[in-house]
Symmetry: C2
Subunit: 476 residues, 2 copies
């Protein structure tokens, strides 16, 4: 099948205007969000229904055409970017964006894969419910992408990651069969839990076309506090204590290291940093309360006072209003953008057991400093999940691009330490192409073999997002 | 390999005294807890370590010996009982019962598969933590069995089922490789989430030998209330309201139908039923509070008063002490035993979306009454999860055994209605052999084919608990 036959066949599946073929039209779909990977595609096809997805995949299977599924294209690991051969097609889910139904009494919502996360949050709030998945890209990322990468974000501590928020899936298999697993049940033990395989598989096993997601009654109040701490060890102690005091009312426990602060202040000078002294660690705590604003305030004040009294924390502020709470959150949320404005840097998205976070941070800071004198360890992240974005910035005043040329060595050093601390080298960003080979270095051999066996069973022709997550079988 | 060679080889793997061969020794392992299924086994082998499990499975693979893994043998669906051929061996996990380590700061515990659930609860409490999985069989069921069947129980509403409580697994594959997936991480996106496949697969894909489980800080107080309600529809309304008022502090929402009460009173006359009038539905609500006993009491009193004021509930009591709360729970927990003492009856373990529970119950009661006049619908269960044990008892004074001879027809009627209400015919008991063929009737064909594909990929020789969950491939 030559290219013009392919394009005609794709047009027959989805309609001509939903097949992009011009290089300028294809280009935005062929580069990842971080602009680390630039690929090519034979076409970009946008099905408007599950049946059209099935038709596209039947065609792909019949003619052995590799398919890269793409949602909002906001991934951090190049998982939705086609390779450079120009033989792959991009299957965009953007037209599959309906909110199919909400069921407030069952606390569920059924949405199509291309629905933007924020649109799902809004649809939930319209029926008086909360869809708690929340992350920086929520204005453009899609639910399908969230599920394919098992997205995390800022509310995992209380509500879980994308996997935990999913009750049912609709999936099209590589050969174009439609599996309707759109159940809205809290308990169902009638066989293997297939949805779990597709969630987090980054488009390598099939195409997720719709999902049934969990909703929650919204809390009566949300309150945020920010505390300064002498060390990461104190932060872990504080987390332990706050978990006991607040129980499930604790909805977020984030940390920010000292090196992040001047970078934030340089690039967002209009944002007010609430502390005058630079301290090693700042914790951002959010609680949700089903009782009242007053109860939330009193509870969080108590926690803060106790932490100061016991000298776990050295200072602290409580957001006295929704606006103040948002302002505190905004500081946390702009860290990544501030680092991007600072220049190229080396990112790590790691997790370790919470009991080993302090030892890991101490070891990583020490070893990176030894190996790369002057490098700034501007780490921050979701301490409540044991997940840190352990980012390494070039020494002040040096050539950041040149520094990043050595990122393989920094990755190796940091990830070897993560591995030594029983951690994960990709906590919430997935493997995509960025971490595929590193993962093969750290992963148990039996586990890799089992993964390859599942890939072979579910995508025997290797057409689903080839080269992502796992090396293609032919390449060993 | 003849039987004596087999026994000698098994003895070489685990030591002679850990291979049971006498029919009287084997018998207890060859019958299920409900005594519905009586099988035979060539031997019962009890490995003392993961390496010994691997040795047994290598042997099994080399000589094509089917293996039935068994924990506490408390399953409800015959999933751990060997068939009648006498060719299968039972692999008992009872000796694999170590608590390997607890990590209070990470809120995790690593245990072997044969550890009894109650022992895990105790080990958690010894480090000041809660392991929340709780069910009637907890004194004898094992964690391995809980995971193999994705056990539910009475705290799912707040803490999730066994799947949700698991962070890592150690599994031996059918050919005797050991997969060490014992991670204690809240976030890890480095490939397919293999543990999810083994959880709930009822021993048909491999042998779970150990797990890392989530722990929680225990609440400061737990309070229980019991309310009488005019209808199941009111119960759903009350659940909806209590979820909003209590948020995650709501730890259980159970319901008991009127038909359960006289049966309970007949067989446990010493237990005090707190209401004088027989009402259609009783709800048992438990809340956990991280603040104080007083706060728990005030909150629950408020909920109860509001429900009475708004005429959702007609009467109610609050457990004023731990002893009183336990007494209220004991009523709920003795329903199953009371029904067993009443005589043979027809069990269903179903779930439907919570928004459809009332319609389902009304339809099921009506149709069973029409088809089987006088039959008692003594349903009860976990309304918060949409999960009811919709049990049907013979008409009073009739031959219960004769009535149960028609259970296929009752199953069909009830399960057709479950299916029509988008529900599951096995919410928390698994399929085992009891529901295997019924499941094939209701399950999506694509889903069944995908399940068979995974079985084929992970257990190509079909040696792992053959005939459970799925029909053996050779039998079509």
């Amino acid at each position: 099948m030559n290219r013009s036959e392919l394009l005609a066949s794709l047009a027959a599946c989805v309609g001509e205007r939903h097949v992009l073929t011009a290089p300028t039209d294809i280009a935005p779909y062929a580069v990842d969000w971080r602009r680390k990977y630039v690929g090519q595609a034979a076409a970009v096809v946008s099905p408007g229904s599950t049946a059209e997805v099935a038709a596209v995949l039947q065609l792909a299977t019949a003619h052995r055409i590799p398919v890269v599924t793409q949602g909002g294209n906001t991934g951090m690991s190049g998982g939705a970017t086609p390779d450079g051969t120009g033989t792959q097609i991009v299957l965009s889910t953007r037209r599959l964006n309906r909110i199919r139904q909400t069921d407030a009494l069952n606390d569920t919502i059924e949405v199509e894969a291309g629905a933007v996360l924020e649109a799902v949050q809004v649809a939930a709030s319209e029926v008086g419910r909360l869809f708690p998945l929340a992350l920086a890209a929520q204005g453009s990322c899609t639910i399908g992408g969230n599920l394919a990468t098992n997205a995390g974000g800022t509310a995992v501590l209380r509500y879980g990651n994308a996997r935990d928020l999913t009750l049912g899936l609709e999936v099209v298999t590589p050969d174009g069969r439609i599996w309707n697993g759109l159940r809205g049940l809290r308990k169902d033990n009638t066989g293997y839990d297939l949805k779990q395989l597709y969630i987090g598989s980054e488009g390598t096993l099939g195409v997720i076309t719709a999902a049934v997601l969990k909703l929650f009654p919204p809390p009566a109040a949300r309150r945020t506090a920010m505390l300064t701490l002498p060390s990461i060890d104190n932060a872990v102690q504080l987390l332990n204590r706050v978990r006991a005091d607040l129980g499930p009312a604790l909805t977020a426990f984030e940390v920010i290291s000292a090196a992040c602060v001047p970078v934030l202040q340089r690039h967002f000078p209009e944002m007010r940093w609430p502390f005058e002294t630079l301290v090693p660690v700042v914790a951002l705590i959010e609680m949700s309360d089903h009782e009242s604003e007053q109860h939330a305030r009193d509870t969080l004040s108590f926690v803060l006072e106790q932490a100061l009294e016991d000298e776990i924390a050295t200072d602290g502020v409580i957001g006295e209003s929704v606006a103040q709470s948002r302002a505190l959150w905004a500081l946390r949320e702009h860290l990544s953008e501030a680092q991007a404005k600072e220049g190229p840097h080396i990112k790590h998205d790691i997790s370790v057991p919470i009991s080993r976070v302090a030892a890991f941070v101490d070891a990583a800071v020490k070893h990176v400093q030894l190996g790369f004198p002057g490098a700034r360890m501007a780490w921050f992240g979701h301490l409540g999940d044991g997940n840190l974005h352990f980012n390494v910035l070039a020494p002040v005043g040096t050539d950041a691009l040149a520094f990043c040329a050595g990122q393989g060595d920094v990755n190796r050093l940091v990830h070897d330490l993560v591995h030594a601390h029983s951690g994960s080298i990709s906590a919430e960003h997935g493997l995509g192409q960025l971490r595929r080979d590193e993962n093969a270095r750290y992963k148990d051999g039996v586990e890799l073999a089992l993964m390859q066996g599942l890939k072979q069973a579910l995508d025997p022709l290797g057409l689903m997002n080839p080269g992502k997550v796992l090396r293609p079988l032919s390449a060993g």
